[in-house]
Each structure stands twice: as structure tokens, then as C-alpha cells.
């Protein structure tokens, strides 16, 4: 489902003496449907960078990243947008939303973008928010004023609203209490059962051991960091 071959990335900082930083070189791996793979490595190893490259958020200088057959390194913006709408979900660590939009609509939005009618999308959003223990009295408020843990859960609800065949999870259990962590892990397990291919970053080792089938040490691909 997700297939990387010989992927490399450099950053060129034109305004800081044109410094060229090699972040990742020559990564190849594949994730099958129903499989969850963890990216591991020390801080700065390039885990989030690699994840952002797979999402098309960072440009990839060399290699191929195929998701459901589409090579996103060489795709037009409109194809990547379509892929993100239908196929590829991403739960980032930060919630980025239009201010003043109610939480319920924020969570329902990925479904609305797929053409799901408003009431059905909101039903699904309500179910997820309930499952993630966001009190109903907050649903009509914008999540921008919520606590860190609440924002994280809204972000997760939004990320799981649509049943994406491929998902990227950046520390989905960070800043959650035990009960909510359990809910998130079961959402991930459900996604695997329905055949989603998942790549995750987990600093929470117990969570990683429970949901991930394999680990990939990103440090191996980081020039200058390999032991």
C-alpha cells in the first residue's frame, strides 16, 4: 500500500549561507494493508521529516514514494489533494483549523469533503468525540481554546473520521491519559483489522509494542548519525 524506494531528502537554506543539510538518504521499505510500522530513532533522526515526505508535505529530492499506486514525488498538486482526501490520512501533533469553527464541524470536515451529507458526517463525528471522551458541551465550541490533550483528541477524531486505506500517525498517544490512550490504541487496532496500512511514530514504547508489527530505525538512513 505504501512503498518507498531509494528515497532521499536534503534541505537547502538559501538565506543561511546556502547550507545544504542531508536529512535522509536512500530509504526503502514497504507497508502492506493491515500492517502497522513504527518509525524509530533518536530526536533529529528524521522520523517526522520522513513522515511529512510520505504525506507530500515535504518535497523529496530523489526516489519514489508510491501510495496506492500513485508516486507522490512526481504527482501534480491536484492528485495529491485527491489522494489525501480519499486514501491517505495524517494525524499530526498539532491541530490546525479555521478559528471559530465548531469542534463537531472540524471533525466532520474530512467526510464533508468526500461528499458525505452533513447529518451523516456529524453522526460519525459525534460518535468519535464521545468515544474519545470530549464532553458534548464542548462540541459547539472551536477547539482552538481547548487544552493540549483535548486538541490532540479532536485531531485524532478528525483523522479517524474517514476510513482511510493508508494512515500516518505522528505521536498519537502523546499527552493523553491512560483511558484515552486506550481508546486511541483500539482505534488503531480497528483500522488495522479493516486493512489500513499504517506508519506511526510512538515515543510510548508500550503502545508501539502493542500496535506495531515492525520497527524501522530511521537513524540508519540519516547521514552522519549512523553508528
Amino acid at each position: 500500500m505504501i512503498d518507498l524506494s531509494n528515497v532521499s531528502k536534503t534541505f537547502t537554506l538559501h538565506n543561511q549561507g546556502s547550507a545544504v543539510i542531508e536529512v535522509i538518504s536512500d530509504v526503502s521499505f514497504a507497508v502492506a494493508p493491515g500492517e502497522c510500522v513504527a518509525l524509530t530513532g533518536a530526536s533529529g533522526a528524521g522520523k517526522s521529516t520522513l513522515m511529512r515526505m510520505i504525506y507530500g508535505n515535504y518535497l523529496t529530492q530523489a526516489g519514489e514514494i508510491r501510495i496506492g499506486g500513485l508516486d507522490i514525488v512526481r504527482s501534480e498538486p491536484r492528485d495529491i489533494i485527491k489522494l489525501r482526501r480519499d486514501v491517505l490520512g495524517y494525524v499530526s501533533q498539532f491541530l490546525r483549523v479555521v478559528p471559530r469553527v465548531p469542534t463537531l464541524d472540524v471533525v466532520a470536515e474530512p467526510l464533508r469533503a468526500l461528499g458525505v451529507p452533513a447529518d451523516k458526517a456529524q453522526d460519525r463525528a459525534s460518535a468519535l468525540l464521545t468515544q474519545l471522551n470530549i464532553p458534548e458541551r464542548l462540541w459547539s465550541l472551536s477547539p482552538t481554546t481547548f487544552s493540549g490533550g483535548e486538541q490532540q483528541r479532536v485531531n485524532i477524531a478528525r483523522g479517524f473520521a474517514h476510513t482511510y486505506p493508508a494512515m500516518l500517525l505522528d505521536e498519537p498517544t502523546a499527552s493523553l491519559d491512560a483511558a484515552n490512550r486506550e481508546v486511541v490504541l483500539s482505534l488503531i487496532e480497528d483500522a488495522k483489522v479493516r486493512g489500513a496500512a499504517i506508519i506511526g511514530i510512538f515515543h510510548d514504547e508500550a503502545a508501539r509494542d502493542r500496535v506495531c508489527d515492525r520497527e524501522i530505525d530511521v537513524g540508519r538512513f540519516t547521514p552522519g548519525m549512523a553508528a
Binding site: 534541505f11 537547502t12 537554506l13 538559501h14 538565506n15 511529512r52 507530500g56 508535505n57 515535504y58 518535497l59 498538486p77 491536484r78 495529491i80 489533494i81 490546525r96 479555521v98 478559528p99 471559530r100 469553527v101 464533508r112 469533503a113
Partner: protein, 256 residues
């Protein structure tokens, strides 16, 4: 799929000075494209060339018309282009008073565009106008008031209603949230996003506000000195800019 708008080699000079040079891109149905750059980078010149307000020195602006398929709007006759401007195209000005008739009631402002495309039944026109005022969150009781009595944010929303009432397929926007205070901006952004999604609109938005493009635009073009220096997916250009000028632009935003 046929692009809704295909822009090829648009160049506009002001004497020896370059307004914009050799700009080309395709816009597909449902896509929202942002154009950013500092003042004087040529983004408004480009927008005005595309929308038929300025005649470019070179290039084509091919629009996929409903009846005749792709047509170059630069070489089409003035009446045809004007008709396009009243039906399939809309233009939202930065200053609402440039896009509104300040001496005519709010309802009249919206109704006028309907009459321009042949609607004649007063009751229907008034109903549609009232419906659109509601969609842009202007109270129906204000339908007979003139826009001079409206706040800046309300005027901008009225301008949007006036533009969208005829169901255009392509909207040109020049700094649509410029000059509004931030709380009004947020509401307008939310409104525009909903309208774009529900009506399947395509839009080209010129702005210098990177936060606005991040929230509204699927794609982004960065302009400097009349030329496009970088283009791509909005979040990719903002989070991993490749060109020296884009990097400078993104890193210059003040954090709040």
C-alpha cells in the same frame, strides 16, 4: 479532464517596467489557487489580466466555457467577455466599495447581477437576494439598507453575495480579507471555505497573508518581480519552500 482555466505565457509591461512575465498554469474545477508575493511582485497585475480588466501584452487565458468549450478570453469579443464576467466569473475586490453600488440597497446589489442575466420577476429576485444575504450572515432585515450603513466586514460579505448569486464557476479574489480585523477575517474565511466546498467553485486568491492561503488554497504560486519563482501544493510550499525568496517570505512571518 479539461482545465477550467488555462493560462499561458501571460506578460504585461508598463513601459520598460515588467508587471508580470511569462506566467503559465492550469486550474482545474474545484481547485483554489493562492498567489502570494510582496507588494509590487505583479500578483494583482496578473489577476487583472486574467479577469479581463487589463489587456496583457502576450499570452492566452483559455476558459472552458459552458457552451463552446475552451476559448481564449483575451481575443473574444468585449460583449462575450462582459457576459462571462456576469455569469461564470466573479471578481471580489479588496475594497468592497469597488465591487458594490454604494447608492443601491443591499438587496438591489445582489438583485442587479440576477437582472443582468435576464431574471425579471421581482419576487423571485428579492427572494434570491434575501436567501443570499442569509448565506453570508447578513440579517434579512437589512435587505433595504444601503451598503454605506454597513460595517467593513458586512460590505465584504455583501460583495461576496453579489458575486456568487449567479452561480459562477470561477472566482477571482484580490486580498478578500485585507483591511478587515482578524475576528471578521476568520468568519469570512470559514464562509468562503464552505461556499467553495458546497458550490464546487474554483478560485484564484491574491493575498500577502500566508495564513489565509494556508486555510483556503489547495495550491500556491509565489511571485517576485513579476515572475513565478515557485509553485506547488500550499502546505508543501509553506513548510518546505525551495526558492530563496519563498524561504525568506515564510521565515519572515511573525508568530503570535
Amino acid at each position: 479532464m479539461t482545465p477550467l482555466l488555462s493560462v499561458q505565457g501571460i506578460t504585461k509591461r508598463y513601459g520598460a517596467h515588467i508587471g508580470c512575465a511569462d506566467v503559465s498554469f492550469d486550474l482545474y474545477p474545484g481547485e483554489v489557487m493562492g498567489i502570494v508575493g510582496e507588494s509590487g511582485s505583479g500578483k494583482s497585475t496578473l489577476l487583472n489580466c486574467m479577469a479581463g480588466h487589463l489587456v496583457p501584452d502576450a499570452g492566452q487565458v483559455v476558459f472552458d466555457t459552458r457552451t463552446d468549450g475552451p476559448r481564449d478570453t483575451i481575443t473574444m469579443s468585449e460583449p462575450e467577455r462582459r457576459m462571462l464576467g456576469r455569469t461564470d466569473w466573479a471578481f471580489v475586490h479588496q475594497h468592497a466599495r469597488d465591487g458594490l453600488r454604494m447608492g443601491v440597497s443591499a438587496g438591489g446589489n445582489v438583485g442587479e447581477r440576477l437582472m443582468a442575466v435576464g431574471e425579471r420577476h421581482y419576487g423571485d429576485i428579492r427572494d434570491k437576494a434575501t436567501d443570499w444575504l442569509g448565506r453570508v450572515e447578513i440579517d434579512a432585515s437589512r435587505v433595504d439598507d444601503r451598503p454605506t450603513t454597513f460595517s467593513g466586514g458586512m460590505q465584504q460579505r455583501l460583495q461576496i453575495a453579489r458575486n456568487l448569486v449567479t452561480g459562477p464557476r470561477l472566482v477571482f479574489m484580490d486580498e478578500p480579507t485585507g483591511g478587515l480585523d482578524v475576528s471578521v477575517q476568520a468568519r469570512l474565511l470559514d464562509l468562503l471555505r464552505g461556499l467553495v466546498r458546497d458550490m464546487g467553485l474554483s478560485a484564484i486568491i491574491v493575498t500577502h497573508d500566508l495564513a489565509v492561503v494556508r486555510l483556503l488554497a489547495d495550491r500556491l504560486m509565489v511571485m517576485k518581480s513579476g515572475r513565478v519563482v515557485e509553485a506547488g501544493l500550499t502546505d508543501q510550499v509553506l513548510d518546505d519552500p525551495q526558492h530563496a525568496y519563498s524561504q525568506l517570505l515564510v521565515s519572515s512571518v511573525l508568530q503570535v
